[in-house]
């Protein structure tokens, strides 16, 4: 994973370490502390399931991880011949997420560069400014989970029509 260091003139302002990756060429940032690793993607095991976007598992040694279909959730398709597997540290346990073949980058950004989401509790924690690019910052802790009200947290309307079976 490539890492971008702050410049020599950076101040000791609060910083945040984020991982930037892409799914269906859509760039997404997540806090590095919520990422358990990045592996090569291996074939997932189809699992009959009525849980939205979780219909497979991935086995790695004796570990078995549920697979969250982030691409389906975002209504995109994973790009690249050799996709990668990002481990999301969701609150109820780690999940595997298939992401584009582009190598994720690790970025240190000023905490002030993060604009919080107007919807507290949303998976989208906000946006972060990286260079000239504004990238949505997602929370992997609650990825794909519905709110107590039974609604998906705000995600810019990517999943219109998507609902739990």
């Amino acid at each position: 994973m490539a890492m971008t260091h702050p410049g020599p003139n950076s101040k000791a302002a609060p910083t945040c370490l984020v991982v930037v990756f892409s799914v269906g060429n859509r760039r997404i940032a997540v806090k590095a502390e919520e990422v358990g690793g990045v592996w090569p993607w291996v074939e997932a095991i189809p699992i009959p399931s009525g849980t939205a976007h979780i219909r497979a598992m991935m086995r790695r040694g004796d570990d078995v991880l549920p697979v969250f279909d982030l691409a389906e959730w975002l209504h995109v398709q994973v790009q690249g011949a050799a996709p990668l597997c990002l481990i999301a540290k969701r609150r109820d346990g780690p999940m595997a997420v298939c992401i584009d073949a582009d190598i994720p980058t690790l970025q240190t950004i000023d905490a002030s560069a993060i604009k919080p989401s107007p919807n507290p509790g949303s998976e989208e924690a906000g946006h972060c400014q990286i260079g000239s690019e504004e990238i949505p910052l997602y929370s992997l802790l609650t990825l794909g989970q519905v709110t107590p009200a039974g609604q998906y947290p705000n995600d810019f309307g990517h999943r219109e029509g998507a609902q739990a079976r």
Binding site: P46, T51, M57, R59, V64, F68, D92
Partner: protein
């Protein structure tokens, strides 16, 4: 009378659960052995049931990708006392004793009806096997599928019932069985009260 028993009987007893592992597409399922009344070829299924019985494609029941009938396809005759259901599967992998400590619950991420369908899972070869909840499987019946899985009603064929040849698990052929104590079966002359294991 010929019966089929496992070669490796080192594992067993109260600390283990005997299951029949089958494959549908790329997914393995484990059915409690006590509900298996017979294993037959698809063309023999109708002759092997004593009355009308729904034939359900197990993979289609779970919306798994369809696999066309092949020489490895089998029909499992399931029930507690009588045959209540006939399930078509792509491959019968074999019979195994699974230590109960090896059976783990589904990850909590799976929060839907699958928690009712499966009582757990265990590592199997390079994959996992899902332990089907026998109570749910038999209670739901062939008509109460999760989707529109095709259900074919089998008709009894009393005249031919006696001629049905039950298939021994040793005919399982997928994967070669390396490193796997599941499908090491042999013919045995001694009695075995597992009904489906008898010819």
């Amino acid at each position: 009378m010929i019966s089929y028993t496992r070669q490796d009987s080192a594992v067993g007893g109260a600390n283990s659960k005997q299951v029949l592992v089958v494959a549908c597409a790329k997914t393995y399922f484990a059915l409690p052995a006590e509900i298996i009344r017979g294993i037959v070829r698809p063309e023999e299924a109708s002759a092997s049931v004593g009355g009308p019985c729904p034939l359900v494609d197990l993979g289609a029941r779970f919306d798994l990708p369809g696999v066309s009938l092949s020489a490895e396809s089998r029909v499992l005759l399931c029930g507690e006392q009588e045959i209540q259901q006939a399930l078509r599967v792509d491959v019968v992998m074999g019979l195994t004793d699974v230590e109960r400590v090896r059976i783990r619950p589904l990850p909590p991420h799976f929060a839907g009806p699958e928690r009712q369908w499966f009582s757990g899972m265990f590592l199997y070869r390079d994959s996992v096997a899902l332990v089907l909840n026998a109570g749910w499987l038999l209670a739901e019946g062939g008509g109460l599928t999760m989707s529109t899985a095709p259900v074919l009603e089998l008709e009894s064929d009393p005249a031919g019932a006696g001629a049905v040849k039950r298939i021994g698990l040793s005919e399982s052929s997928r994967g070669g069985g390396e490193g796997n104590a599941l499908d090491l079966l042999e013919e045995s002359a001694d009695g075995d009260d597992t009904p489906w294991a008898q010819l």
